[in-house]
């Protein structure tokens, strides 16, 4: 626990799982969950580096702003998802491909 790499490995695994969720899930809300995992992974890195490397609170600040951004992003994304649902009756992103060639 007093070792930076234990945090970094955790964050890497969390990031990969989040990425996998984003890449493979069909449900839009599930993709959103993946995004949150990725943001959390990033936050862990920021705070860990802030404790082990830079020794100041800038990393915490950035994390606070990321958390805030995540909240805003979740609200707007869910509003969009709701519209998608009202429009099509489902929220599967792989079927929402009107922009394809």
């Amino acid at each position: 626990m007093d070792h930076l790499s234990s945090y970094l490995v955790l964050s890497a695994i969390l990031f990969s799982l989040g990425l996998y969720t984003v890449v493979t899930r069909r449900n839009a809300v599930a993709i959103l969950m993946g995004v949150e995992l990725i943001l959390n992974a990033a936050n862990i890195n920021f705070v860990a580096f802030s404790k082990f490397v830079t020794h100041n609170l800038d990393g915490h600040l950035i994390s606070v702003f990321i958390i805030m951004l995540a909240a805003a992003e979740a609200a707007v994304a869910l509003a969009i998802v709701l519209n998608l649902y009202n429009d099509r009756g489902h929220i599967n992103v792989d079927e929402a491909n009107s922009l394809k060639q």
Partner: protein, 700 residues
């Protein structure tokens, strides 16, 4: 004290916001009392400040608070408050008049279509007036100066359905703009040379010689003293506009189209005094030449407006010209160096002129009601020729009118006597002792006391003419007279309060000598040192010595001329020994000139506006016929010919190349379009593959 001042400044703004946004909703529920309450709160706060000032009793007291507002490297603008005795007294004047007018308006404006908006505008006016009073810099004063202009415009045009009201509003606004251009230019000159707008700093820096060092270099070798004179006179131009000095006085009589309480608040007691207040603030850095100019403008305005007031028949017009004349007095006092007297007259005049306007409002209110009762919508309720004998029906209004007329005419025991006397003594002393300024060089300085005493006599004459025509004699229209009633309590109580405030002892306590102005006021307000070091300044010490000598003869003369005016008025209008009509016939040209305001409006229209419009038309035609037709269009025609040739080349060579590359990319796009699946996750995979490849490429 700063916090108190901030509250006094911003509470009226709160009243404005509440009335504008919520006023309509509370109109039936006595919503105006919100504004009245707020106004009386500021009155109480102002009185607290007043008590604090009195307990300090220090003529040099001052307090400054400022916050940085705009910071452009070398040039910084601070906004802030500056509080000294003058500020406190002015705040009290504004608060007293404003709160009484609010109270008065609840009855006077009852049932008006835009009732709540009216109170909202009163609120923003009070806010901006307090802003002027509390300002610590020329820049801040300018901001609130314009706000005051705006609220004046809104209130004059309150009944904008009437064309005359709408036009009067516009006239006031535009005329003020003319003055403000001068003020702004003056401000900019000062700020350019000294790098600050702050009053204290301006005076300090001029005193330290910064002006003398910088002015010439910055303004093409002009002599610094001359530039300071120009700057002072330019800033004073703002005061000329706002305080209705000749030649920009024309808007004030027209402004009487607004509701009468507004006339009392804005166009008699406070806003028009703002110009005088500005002159008070810039007093320390006026040069002798600038002072002479100011004095002359003031003196001329005083007598000029007084002569017009003699022949007017509209009760409010008489008072309006009287206001212009009295403002001229104040300005003349400041110009002649009678700083205390000028400011003193500002305060006393605010009280008695406010009362006069409100009392005339009371008369008009009664007339309106009476006319309404007999279903007469043709007769002018403000025309004195329709009144007469009202003193029996409206005793309180009459009493107030008598007291305040006595005050304005300079009759002992009333406040106007003290301040007017001080001004006249000042002008006398100036004429006797002046050695600097162009008035002295031309030996014209004696004109000023002549103007002053002449105006004093005329004032007494026309004010008593007003009283005799309105309150004495037979009722000229008995059917109207029958329905005249005294106004309700909310209107008469403010009148009585203001009448009491027009007594002499209010300003001389603890002394009760009716012919000496010595008291708390003159103890607390003292002339500031002149900061001018670039050249001849006004010699204050010399002047004060002369003032002492001039005091007694000036007082005697002023009493005599006032008595003369009064006597003449009694003879003509009360006892009818001399017929007014015959006199008018005999005076012929003079009478017609005075009746038509010396044709000033006509001069503006025919002498300035029309030629200007014609000039504009000519320039416009030049623009259209020559500039547009030959230069611009000709250029265009030529360019068209040239471009046709170039276009041909473009089509063949450049377009050919472009089209060729287009075809290539079209083909490329057709082949690549198949990776655009519309599925966002596919794109993401591509991105990730790209990222991984980049990493690999970077490592190996």
């Amino acid at each position: 004290m700063i916090k108190l001042a901030l509250f006094i400044l911003f509470l009226p703004l709160l009243s404005f916001v509440l009335q504008i946004f919520l006023g309509r909703r509370f109109e039936d529920k006595k919503g105006e009392w919100v504004s009245v309450g707020i106004q009386f709160t500021t009155l109480i706060l102002s009185l607290i400040m007043f008590v604090m000032m009195m307990s300090k009793h220090d003529p040099g007291f001052s307090l400054e608070f400022h916050q940085s507002w705009l910071d452009l490297g070398l040039f910084k603008i601070d906004l802030g408050l500056y509080i000294d005795n003058i500020t406190v007294i002015m705040l009290n004047v504004v608060a007293i008049i404003s709160s009484l007018v609010h109270l008065y308006s609840t009855a006077y404006m009852e049932g008006d279509v835009r009732y709540s908006r009216y109170f909202g505008f009163l609120g923003i006016f009070t806010f901006s007036m307090n802003g002027i009073v509390l300002a610590n810099s020329l820049f801040m004063i300018y901001i609130f100066w314009e706000l005051v202009g705006l609220s004046s415009y809104l209130l004059i045009g309150h009944w904008w359905e009437k064309d005359s009201a709408a036009n009067a509003g516009k006239k006031a606004f535009i005329t003020n703009r003319v003055g403000d251009i001068g003020m702004f230019t003056g401000m900019l000159i000062i700020a350019t040379v000294l790098g600050t707008f702050n009053f204290q700093q301006i005076a300090e820096r001029i005193h330290e010689g910064v002006w003398a060092a910088n002015a010439g270099m910055l303004f093409g070798g002009i002599e610094p003293h001359k530039l300071l004179t120009i700057a002072g006179v330019l800033v004073f131009m703002g005061a000329v506009g706002k305080s209705a000095q000749f030649p920009l006085h024309v808007w004030l009589p027209d402004a009487m189209e607004g509701p009468t309480p507004v006339s009392a608040l804005i166009h008699a007691a406070t806003m028009v005094a703002a110009g005088v207040y500005l002159t008070v603030r810039i007093f320390p850095f006026l040069t002798a030449d600038a002072m002479a100019t100011i004095a002359f403008i003031g003196g001329f305005t005083a007598i000029y407006a007084a002569t017009i007031a003699i022949t007017q028949n509209d009760i409010k017009k008489v008072l309006a010209y009287s206001t212009v004349s009295q403002l001229g007095y104040m300005v003349m006092a400041l110009g002649t160096g009678a700083y205390v007297a000028g400011f003193f007259h500002l305060v006393t005049h605010a009280m008695f002129k406010g009362a006069l306007f409100l009392a005339s409002g009371s008369v008009i209110h009664a007339m309106h009601h009476s006319l309404h009762k007999i279903h007469d919508h043709e007769t002018d309720a403000q025309d004195m020729r329709n009144m007469g004998g009202l003193r029996t029906r409206m005793p309180i209004t009459f009493g107030v009118f008598m007291i305040t007329t006595a005050a304005i005419s300079g009759i002992p025991l009333f406040s106007g006597f003290l301040s007017k006397d001080a001004i006249l003594a000042g002008s006398w002393a100036y004429a006797a002792n002046v050695h600097e300024g162009w008035l002295a060089n031309l030996h014209l300085a004696w004109l000023l006391p002549v103007f002053g005493f002449g105006a004093a006599a005329i004032t007494a004459f026309y004010m008593f003419r007003l009283i005799f025509m309105t309150f004495y004699g037979e009722a000229k229209r008995p059917e109207i007279f029958r329905h005249i009633k005294e106004s309700p309590k909310v209107m008469t109580v403010p009148l009585m309060i203001l009448a009491i405030l027009s007594m002499f002892f209010v300003f001389t306590l603890p002394s009760v000598n009716p012919i000496s102005s010595h008291g708390w006021f003159t103890e607390l307000i003292q002339s500031p040192e002149s900061a001018v070091t670039t050249g001849p300044a006004f010699e204050l010490e010399h002047f004060e010595h002369g003032l002492h000598a001039a005091h007694v003869p000036a007082m005697a003369t002023s009493l005599i001329v006032a008595a003369l005016g009064l006597l003449l008025s009694v003879l003509i209008y009360l006892l009818k020994k001399i017929s007014a009509e015959e006199l008018a016939q005999k005076l012929g040209v003079l009478y017609r000139g005075s009746f038509n305001k010396w044709y000033m409006d006509e001069f503006y229209i025919n002498g300035i506006i029309r030629p200007f419009l014609k000039g504009c038309g000519a320039v416009g035609r030049f623009d259209l016929d020559f500039y547009d037709h030959y230069l611009i269009n000709g250029w265009g025609r030529n360019a068209k010919k040239t471009s046709r040739g170039v276009g041909l080349a473009d089509d063949l060579i450049v377009d050919g190349a472009v089209n060729f590359s287009g075809i290539i990319f079209q083909w490329l796009g057709w082949t690549l379009k198949f990776i655009q699946t519309g599925k966002i996750q596919n794109y993401l995979i591509f991105v990730l593959i790209g990222a991984a490849l980049l990493f690999v490429a970077n490592v190996f």
